[in-house]
Symmetry: C2
Amino acid sequence: GGGFLRRANEGSLHEIFNRYATVNKNGEKFMTAEDFVIKYLKLLDDQNYNKDTVKLLAAIVDTSKDGLISYPEFQAFEGLLCFPDALYKTAFQLFDTNGNGMVSFSEFVEVMKKTELHRKIPFNMDSPFIQLYFGKDKSRVVSYNEFSQFLHDFHEEYAIEGFRRADTNGSGFISLSAFQEIMTSIKSHLLTKQVQSHLIEAATISQGGSRVSFPYFIAFNSLLNNMELVKRIYLNVTNGHRTQEVSKEEFMHSAQAMSQMTPLEVDILFQLCDVLHQTGYVSDFI
Amino acid sequence: GGGFLRRANEGSLHEIFNRYATVNKNGEKFMTAEDFVIKYLKLLDDQNYNKDTVKLLAAIVDTSKDGLISYPEFQAFEGLLCFPDALYKTAFQLFDTNGNGMVSFSEFVEVMKKTELHRKIPFNMDSPFIQLYFGKDKSRVVSYNEFSQFLHDFHEEYAIEGFRRADTNGSGFISLSAFQEIMTSIKSHLLTKQVQSHLIEAATISQGGSRVSFPYFIAFNSLLNNMELVKRIYLNVTNGHRTQEVSKEEFMHSAQAMSQMTPLEVDILFQLCDVLHQTGYVSDFI
């Protein structure tokens, strides 16, 4: 869904830029990092913001990395936002701190270390995962396309790292509260409000106790990653009807015919439906 | 698609069993492992078969693990095959060699070591991946549902292990022939004949040289895992038409709106279409 984004009107874009640009250099106007992040985007509290964060965010647009945003840079960023992969492109420019079109290991670490997430759950920068992407000696630089894949996998790996840290004695289980903490810290973008507020309840019912196993943890995450597939399986069973109740057996039958969804993922799906709607049916959950 | 499987007719099932059962014990008939695997299923060459393989396969049905298949066991297996998750259930019974309803680490190793795949590409049984499922001291036993998730992830992990072994100097790259070897050994169930015979060609075009990077490797596998999602994205762009040509930009737009497909995955998809059909369009590839 959704239409393609149209470019902004040239005249009004320039007018906006001039309104916020406070630096004048040889007759050319520039935005400072604060102009862009605090005054224009209003991304952070204007009384109490972290200067490093402001610099980091402004550098996404400041592709020449000279500390100031020119009008051509501002305009190019507006153009970038109209691309379908704008989110990936923005993320890449955030991590490509020297603007050379590649992300190095040290650039990646430099940005990650400034995140709230890394402060909460530190990521092991010497892990085999990092070595596979940046090479054993971490000297390999990564292109835009490759970095998009890296970021995607990094989220999954981060969740596993979270599990490993919480499973202090290596039993293969973590506590319910650790499960909630990891999911809300690392996977919040996949959680609806409803699922987020029922995380512990769902895991309790499913695991029949006070801890979460690794297979459950992985299946839960895999389910959230594949909600589009889940929808398709559901609609395949109901012949496109969106309010029909579907039994677990019917769903499983369709899931196996179309995909590799595991029985554990199907179990968790129906348990979530139970928790959120107190019925054993998929229908309007998805 | 596809209807539910109906149970076999009781009389004819018994007749089939009696035709192949060569052991008679106190008036009750039993199939030997050879009766079942070689004579009835004709799974292996009857002149030149591996006895261990025959025993392993027969033990899936011989749930009492006494070395003989009774009629109730034969009948129960026929029933199991009618379940939508028959493949997962069969795999579980293959690995649950003592028939206690759980799979231990030693059972898993025992079966894996007998596979052709493990002989070709040995899997590191001390890896952190194994520890997450079986616990640090590998003493944890795994239930059916959990094992289904394990098997699913094991395939992914095996591919990564294959990459790591082929990347001998830890550069983050493997050769084209190693790429082909890993894909056909570990992921053949996801490769159509057409894709299989164009693997090297596709990777050469995409990587512009003689080696395959880790991000490419992962994106390629992720694409194959998510073909149902790819179909859905395609049909979303074409409004359900199955022969309409779709440009990369249109596809990417729909992909980002619906899913987390990465730009690299979309690239690979269009390169595959190029290789298989010499056009830049998705249309009838999927």
